[in-house]
Symmetry: C2
Subunit: 202 residues, 2 copies
Amino acid sequence: MDLQKRSTEELILEAAQAVFLEKGLAGARMQEIADRAGINKALLHYYFRSKEKLSALIIERAIGVILPRVMAVLDTDVELFDKIRLVVDTYLTFVSRNSFLPLFIVNEVNRNPQFFFRTVVEKERTHLDKFRRQVEEAVAQGRIHPINPAQLFMNVMSLVIFPFLGKPIIQVGLGLSDEDFKRAMEHRRTEVAEFVIRAIRA
Amino acid sequence: MDLQKRSTEELILEAAQAVFLEKGLAGARMQEIADRAGINKALLHYYFRSKEKLSALIIERAIGVILPRVMAVLDTDVELFDKIRLVVDTYLTFVSRNSFLPLFIVNEVNRNPQFFFRTVVEKERTHLDKFRRQVEEAVAQGRIHPINPAQLFMNVMSLVIFPFLGKPIIQVGLGLSDEDFKRAMEHRRTEVAEFVIRAIRA
DNA sequence: CGTAAATTTAACCAAGCAGTTAAACTACCT
DNA sequence: AGGTAGTTTAACTGCTTGGTTAAATTTACG
């Protein structure tokens, strides 16, 4: 379709996403967004009336791109242990390429939980059901240690996401270069899943 | 000593901490800090010249209060599994009472990693040595599965801290009331440690 | 070509906010 | 009583920033 060049609207959205993720909502400047999109402030407001409207779009986009990904995996028919491996791998890949996303989302969600609630979760919550039943079944069959599915899910998310939120802490605290960190995350791609599986396997 | 009333300086610091943690550095207003401290803006600047100086103090305080706590536990002579139980318990207790702290620290550390580096870590890094050796020894003796001490540490921190960063996500995503969430965290106090121990025990 | 939409230029407004200042008031100390 | 540090009041400066406006210029397109 438009292989030649992205539309101005897209340019703005990309620039806005970059700036919002880097600086946070309060720290982002409309001027900087305009600059990075290669346009001027007037045109920026011409497309997206206000900072608030623009930021709402970005937040929706950011959350909308990551949440369905996890939910889709959780909703498949794969066997439990393989599903854990799959969700870790999927998520870790994605978040490695968008390392600012977790912090941004966590901030916005804490600032305005209602929005998060209305926008996304209502539709997605049921997708957890299959996972929940799967865990309960495995517990009932004695294949895994008794564990609350919610807690298990929380654990997986924690292990995958936190290192990116705490990247500077971890890097400095453990003395890792950027390259080291990348390698450590690569290593985690398999390690985390096996860690979780060992923790629950009966 | 001064049982009657806290000094104005302390009042300001407490108010500043509260406001900074709730609103973040960029979102915090000097006026609000003054109001909450029960004084006026002029006096606020009379005590702490600028917002920057004040925020630097708060950041230092915030990090300085939580990091040494973990390090102290990691540096003790307790046996490995008990140490894991201890660190989880200590940390979870503390962070339950200061639930805004993790998000604040994570933000500041991402915004300015150098500061974090200079201020705290230099002195604290060595405290990890004992834990590191302990893990390596346990691996060598075949008491636990082979695991990089750094990764193990990262896993424990992840499991403890993340739920507080993602509290709204988790609450909404899993449909937990405030009471439910509190109970879930209480439950985690023992669960997380056992989870980790099962994951590494040979 | 002609017209409408897209884009720039440049100036401007209003609000919010950090920080200042000076004068007056209060409380405590000696 | 007098002085000093702590505190208030209230007005003000200066800068940043979101948002607007109007006119000029360019681009796209039938």
